[in-house]
């Protein structure tokens, strides 16, 4: 399969001198198209930092991250921003919806920023799949955690991105909601033909992930998942 994202000997160090902490230590792996990649590990092992580097939010201290063969961090900021908007989708543990916008406005926000027309059919299908059609007029503070995360997933998918980056997407949810949201996320990814890079500390999801990396002290130490 074609390599969509390449992580090459990437390192990220927080702080400097004696207080420096190596969060990601010479990590290398590829994200193929139409795949589901998982990174699991204990809290503080560096998995979120790795995700942020892969998604163009955090410049690595050394090494490189490529997208479709182009180095993400050698691109100009504007090009990288447009790439994030059109090719990437983001889902965070804390949802990070804009509180001043309704659920529908939050979902449409990337379209608005990219000045893209609204594909009503796709939007309806997405909302029906995520079961939020009845809650679109509500504001984030009026939604439950599970509903907010579904809105965040819809926002991540509205631009039909090639990759979705999910950072502990079910971390704030109870077991029932967690399973429901995760299944919906996978369903969406498969339905809409995106790749998914998911960071989680919950290894119970490994059975549904194509390739699962285990991370410890900033290093990838194990490769598993359905393909392995």
């Amino acid at each position: 399969m074609e390599t969509l994202i390449g992580v090459n000997e990437s390192v990220y160090i927080y702080g400097n001198s004696e207080a420096a902490v190596t969060a990601v230590d010479r990590v290398s792996f590829d994200v193929p198209t139409n795949s589901v990649i998982g990174v699991v590990g204990a809290s503080g092992c560096g998995k979120s930092t790795l995700l942020h580097m892969m998604s163009g939010l955090l410049t690595p201290s050394s090494g490189s991250i490529t997208y479709a063969g182009d180095d993400l961090y050698k691109m100009k900021d504007k090009k990288r921003t447009i790439l994030r908007r059109e090719q990437f989708g983001f889902i965070f543990q804390a949802y990070h919806l804009l509180p001043g916008l309704s659920a529908l406005q939050n979902i449409r926000l990337p379209l608005l920023l990219g000045n893209k027309p609204i594909d009503k059919d796709y939007e309806n299908r997405l909302c029906q799949t995520l079961q939020i059609s009845q809650r679109l007029a509500h504001y984030p503070s009026e939604l439950s955690g599970g509903q907010q995360q579904r809105v965040a997933i819809a926002r991540a998918l509205i631009m039909k991105p090639r990759v979705i980056f999910a950072d502990e997407p079910t971390g704030n949810l109870d077991t029932a909601a967690k399973n429901e949201v995760f299944e919906l996320l996978l369903e969406c990814v498969h339905s809409f033909g995106s790749s998914l890079v998911i960071v989680t500390h919950d290894e119970s999801v490994s059975s549904q992930i194509d390739t699962l990396y285990t991370m410890s002290d900033g290093k990838l130490i194990h490769k598993g998942g359905r393909e392995n």
């Binding site: 410049t59 921003t81 994030r84 804009l98 926000l109 920023l113």
Partner: protein
């Protein structure tokens, strides 16, 4: 209490930006409080000095009779410490005589040149001369006899007699600082003390009396005791106020102090409230946690108050220091840079020291107001801290009330929804921001008006109007026309027409036209021409020492019909004091200078003439009309520069206040901007959102502040307002400040990792 203090210090140290902003806001408030009082009092003293310099008389009684005069002279010899008596034009026919019955005058004289000073301690026909007068009479010894004589002329300029009397010098007293009224009238008795004399055969209409009363309360007594009707009295209210120390009560600037302080206080409270509330919101979880683990309402209250007071303790000294630095160092530096020799500032008109002094009372007052401002500013955030449910604070869940308030915006899918998202979501903060801008702009514009229009141009115009008052001399006991004033434009025309070099001009009408012009002291040639209502002069009064029978003025020969003092070709006016060789030769008048203002063409001739008489002397100086005018303009320019320096400071402060408020608000949005950036908003889009938000706030604020300022200014200035250009400049400055306030948040967003901004704000 120690735990509260420790928590307070911890919070202030952790939130450095908030601490710095708060201290800055307190310091600015303190600076404004101090400097505004200082500015008003400085302008007070400048205006006061101006009034005192130009004031000629306290009251002028336009119609009086001998009975009144005698009553005045008899009864007021004790109560009235100074009394100037001027007698109008003499009748053209009939015998004229004056008899000095009794006097206690310190100074009197004739024709504006014949001045002696003295007082009579008891016996009739004895006089105590002051040093100046003694010098004039060649320092007579005690017991010597001097003869005081004044020429009498008709309205047509004809000498019709002489009034004289003989006195025995009974003593030499220190020089009295008073200067008698100098009048052009053919006969004028000028006394700055008590004078009693009998005037025979003087037509009633020719008389008026000028009172220069230093115990101003006696003015009222004079009116009351002698039944002088108010409608025949023209009072020089500015001078009366200045002399009585009541100037500050009547000064139009003084009432402004209170509204200015209120505006400064409200603006400061809003700005500080905004900063405190933003700090409160950003720490709401921390506060919730403290409440969950047992902090009481009282402790929450104390925590906020301690924080506010601690900030005051730092901000107030900084503000005080700034105010003193500006008034004590910056202002003199500006003045010295403008006027290295200090000739313009250190004059009898303006004293540098009076411009740079902030009184202790002003400092105490400012500290009190600043402390109150800080405490009031923290009330809202304190109230919120106490009222909110601790669990909700901790988890940051909006209350039912807050939920209901959430705007259900109809705008969707438009870029505007992003711009107005923040504005419409937190309406209180938006209102707070707009109010801060409104008050900053209003503050600036009102100060602009106070300092420029009301204080310099306006006050000078007002003063000029007063000095150039045109009034009529009553005829046959009836007023010919009411007292009226002329506009500055008319004054300018007169100045141009007559080539005046100073702005103290009095024009006397007798109903048929200008009877005479008095320009400072004397303007010889024109005086005689104008005294004949425009006809040619009958003759001139030559200077003492002039042996010619006629004098050529402007190519025309005039017969000499009287003698004054000296001859100085081309001299058209003498300022301040009569010049005599005796005066200049003696050290008894060391502080007095004689300034000759001459036409440019005659400068050399005058210089030669003066030099031949006096040699090189510091007792006189010669200035051409052009030089004199230029000096006045420089003096005004210096004043204006000082005022505009103040304005620049006020403008910078107002802009900092606006920036402070908007910057604080922009920082609250930064996490949301980072989210937008993450999902694909470019920096230019974020910048556009933030800038448009700021411009909207500025626009909304200007819509309120401009009309508000205009109303305030027009009300306070009695109808005069600022020019449209100044309003436009203030508006442009406000919009620029709002835009500039957006930049730090945008720069911060660019420089920090996005994920860091999302997680930590």
């Amino acid at each position: 209490m120690r735990s509260i203090l420790a928590l307070t210090l911890h919070r202030l140290k952790r939130q450095k930006l908030f601490t710095i902003l708060s201290i800055l806001a307190v310091a600015i408030a303190m600076f404004l409080y101090t400097i505004s009082g200082f500015m008003v009092s400085s302008l007070d003293s400048m205006t006061l000095a101006s009034i005192e310099r130009s004031g000629r008389f306290h009251a002028q009684i336009a119609s009086w009779d001998d009975t009144l005069y005698h009553k005045l002279s008899d009864d007021k010899r004790v109560e009235t410490t100074a009394l100037n008596v001027g007698i109008g034009l003499l009748p053209t026919s009939g015998a004229t005589s004056i008899h000095f019955e009794e006097w206690d005058a310190t100074m009197f004289g004739m024709m504006g040149l014949e001045l002696i000073s003295g007082r009579l301690p008891g016996a009739q026909n004895e006089i105590v001369l002051d040093e100046e007068a003694a010098a004039f009479y060649d320092n007579p010894s005690i017991g010597a006899t001097i003869r005081v004589s004044v020429p009498c002329m008709s309205a047509t300029g004809e000498i019709i007699g002489e009034i004289s009397d003989t006195f025995i010098v009974s003593g030499i007293a220190e020089k009295n600082a008073l200067m008698g009224e100098v009048s052009h009238q053919v006969l004028a008795v000028i006394g700055s003390g008590y004078v009693e004399a009998t005037f025979d055969n003087y037509a009633e209409f020719t008389r008026f009396i000028s009172l220069r009363v230093f115990d101003v309360n006696s003015l009222g007594e004079l009116y009351f005791d002698y039944g002088i009707e108010n409608d025949i009295v023209y009072e020089n209210q500015s001078l009366i106020d200045a002399s009585s120390g009541a100037y500050s009560d009547s000064n139009p600037l003084s009432p402004l102090t209170i509204p200015l302080t209120i505006i400064v206080a409200i603006a400061s409270i809003l700005i500080l409230s905004n900063i405190f509330s933003i700090s409160h919101l950003s720490r709401i979880k921390e506060l919730g946690l403290l409440r969950v683990i047992g902090m009481t309402n009282g402790q929450a209250y104390k925590l906020n108050m301690a924080e506010a007071l601690l900030l005051s303790c730092i901000g107030i000294p900084i503000g005080l220091f700034l105010a003193h630095a500006v008034s004590g160092a910056l202002l003199p530096s500006i003045l010295i840079a403008l006027d290295p020799e200090g000739s313009l500032v250190e004059t009898e008109f303006y004293h540098l020291t009076s411009l740079v002094t902030i009184s202790f009372a002003q400092v105490i007052q400012a500290i009190g107001i600043a402390c109150s401002t800080v405490v009031l500013s923290s009330v809202w955030s304190t109230f919120r801290s106490r009222k909110l449910d601790p669990v909700k604070l901790f988890v940051n869940v909006p209350s039912d009330k807050q939920r209901r308030r959430i705007t259900r915006s109809k705008r969707d899918g438009s870029f505007l929804s992003l711009i107005f998202m923040e504005i419409s979501r937190d309406r209180k903060r938006t209102a707070l921001g707009i109010s801060s801008i409104v008050l900053s702009v209003t503050l600036f514009l009102v100060f602009l008006n106070v300092l420029s229009t009301a204080s310099v141009d306006g006050r000078i115009k007002e003063q000029m109007i007063g000095d150039f008052a045109v009034y009529s001399v009553p005829q046959n006991g009836e007023r010919i026309e009411s007292w009226s004033k002329i506009e500055p434009q008319a004054v300018s025309a007169l100045v141009d027409e007559y080539g005046l070099s100073a702005y103290t001009l009095r024009i006397i009408y007798d109903g048929d036209g200008p009877r005479a012009f008095v320009i400072d002291d004397v303007r010889f040639a024109e005086l005689l021409q104008d005294a004949n209502a425009g006809s040619d002069a009958q003759g001139v009064i030559a200077y003492i020492g002039c042996e010619e029978e006629s004098v050529s003025i402007d190519g025309k020969e005039y017969p000499v019909i009287g003698h004054l003092d000296k001859t100085f070709p081309g001299v058209d006016s003498i300022y301040y004091y009569y010049l005599s060789e005796a005066m200049l030769a003696t050290d008894t008048v060391p502080m007095r200078r004689v300034d000759f203002k001459v036409d440019d063409d005659n400068y050399d001739a005058v210089h030669v003439a003066l030099n031949s008489v006096f040699g090189d002397s510091s007792s006189y100086s010669i200035g051409t009309y052009t030089e004199t005018k230029a000096q006045l303009e420089r003096e005004l320019a210096t004043l204006r520069t000082v005022i505009y320096s103040f304005l620049a400071i006020i403008m910078i402060i107002a802009l900092i206040n606006i920036m402070n408020t908007l910057y604080s608000s922009a920082l609250l949005n930064i996490s949301e901007y980072a989210i937008e950036r993450t999902i694909g908003a470019t920096m230019s889009q974020i910048a556009a959102i933030q800038l448009l938000q700021s411009v909207f706030l500025a626009g909304a604020a200007l819509l309120v502040s401009i009309p508000l300022s205009a109303i305030l200014i027009i009300t306070l200035s009695n109808g005069s307002g600022l020019s449209v250009a100044l309003y436009a400049a203030a508006s442009a400055g406000t919009i620029l400040a709002c835009v500039a306030a957006s930049l730090p948040a945008i720069v911060s967003l660019r420089r920090r990792p996005l994920i860091d901004t999302i997680l930590r704000g």
